[in-house]
């Protein structure tokens, strides 16, 4: 589970559909690995306005990263500063949760992560 995915995933449980607390999911007992992936600057700039920065700050802290700046960096700032862009790339695309859980603060459901793959299959009464 990459951090970029975490920034877009919500709890899948039916009763969590319209709850603000169902996003973001919160990693628990997370084991991280860092992959080596080529920087895709255009893709990052493209999704920048769609990132939920507050959620990303929360998740980054939970995963043990140093605190992110309070404000979403602007496109111009990232274009001008390769280092900033690479940091974002490193966090969003290269960082993976290999083992652990994702927890919903609204319903308490825990999604297991194994070998990097989060299990979002739900028992039918939660769908």
């Amino acid at each position: 589970m990459k951090v970029i995915s975490l920034n877009f995933l919500t709890c899948a449980v039916k009763s969590c559909k319209s709850s603000g607390a169902a996003f973001p999911l919160h990693p628990k007992d997370a084991e991280l690995v860092q992959d080596d992936i080529e920087l895709n600057a255009q893709m990052l700039l493209n999704i920048l306005p769609r990132l939920d920065w507050a959620a990303l700050r929360t998740n980054a802290t939970e995963l043990g990263f140093p605190e992110l700046p309070a404000e979403l960096p602007t496109r111009e700032a990232l274009e001008a500063d390769e280092k900033k862009l690479k940091d974002l790339h490193h966090l969003l695309v290269e960082t993976q949760i290999m083992e652990g859980k994702l927890v919903c603060r609204n319903c308490g459901h825990e999604y297991a992560i194994r070998e990097g793959i989060a299990n979002f299959l739900l028992p039918s009464h939660l769908v």
Partner: protein, 283 residues
């Protein structure tokens, strides 16, 4: 020919030995790759995008997204969901770049609204026509999938689902569920009336598109739709004769695209007069 969809649940059918075929059979790999390339062509993405791959399996389709060249708008980043642990296991072994999720599309699409620039699904959605358990219905699963997919796409986005309907009834059932969810929808058929026929459900999310045109199904299918009535082939060929760089969106480019489409097959827009006459897909 018997269809696995009729007898087994997807996660049972796609077991380890079935999944292995997706690494060992170059025939399967070629077919999946060419259908994915076709879907990408229809998506017509202009820059590196975030794409959802529904029923990503072993990642054959996703790898094509990763490999898309910069001059063609790539490379893309993708997130795949699949219900079969065996297929995902093969994806892990093949070390694909996309992020993988074990999830059942019939339970919905668990992403926040507007997350993706586009979605593809190659050879998967026909599985929704078979209820997985006694407490679910195909109609309910189709609705949850298409409603969820619609919400997860940004305004102006497109999705392309290549699928294998068992019959016209399944084709209608799937397309209708997409339209009910709010999509603009068209059906594109490559190599019609052959045993290699391939069906693509082309979906658009309305609203202001980033590039100002992706959201309207008539915009997407217009050029293609004309293929059906393009009986002035020689004229079209003339237009192309002035070589050189064809600018995207220019008349020459559109004509060129039309010809490409024509060579490959034809498009039936769901609301076009052709639909009523030939297929009777009523939404």
């Amino acid at each position: 020919m018997s269809r696995p969809e009729d007898t087994l649940a997807a996660d049972i059918h796609y077991n380890d030995s079935e999944a292995r075929k997706y690494t060992t059979s170059s025939r399967i790999q070629n077919i999946q790759a060419s259908m994915t390339r076709r879907a990408l062509e229809i998506l017509d993405l202009k820059s590196p995008s975030l794409i959802l791959d529904v029923g990503c399996g072993s990642g054959l389709s996703g790898e094509i997204l990763t490999a898309e060249r910069p001059e063609d708008g790539g490379p893309h980043t993708w997130i795949g969901m699949d219900v079969s642990p065996s297929m995902l296991d093969v994806a892990l072994q093949r070390d694909v770049q996309g992020d993988l999720l074990l999830a059942d599309m019939g339970q919905g699409v668990p992403f926040r609204p507007g997350a993706f620039d586009a979605a593809i699904s190659i050879s998967a959605v026909q599985w929704l026509c078979n209820a997985e358990a006694s407490d679910t219905s195909p109609a309910g699963r189709l609705a949850r999938f298409f409603d969820g997919l619609y919400a997860s796409l940004r305004r102006g986005a497109r999705a392309v689902c290549q699928f294998y309907p068992k019959n016209d009834q399944q084709k209608t059932m799937i397309t209708r569920a997409a339209v009910r969810a709010g999509f603009g929808a068209g059906l594109l058929e490559d190599d019609p009336n052959t045993k290699n026929v391939k069906l693509y459900l082309v979906l658009t999310v309305g609203g202001s598109a980033g590039d100002g045109r992706g959201g309207d199904i008539t915009g997407v299918v217009d050029g293609m739709d004309n293929v059906d009535v393009l009986d002035s082939r020689p004229k079209a060929a003339d237009d192309k004769s002035g070589k050189g760089a064809i600018k995207k969106g220019s008349k020459a480019w559109i004509v060129h695209k039309k010809e490409q489409m024509e060579r490959k097959g034809k498009v039936v827009k769901t609301t076009s007069k052709y639909t009523g006459r030939k297929r009777r897909v009523a939404f």
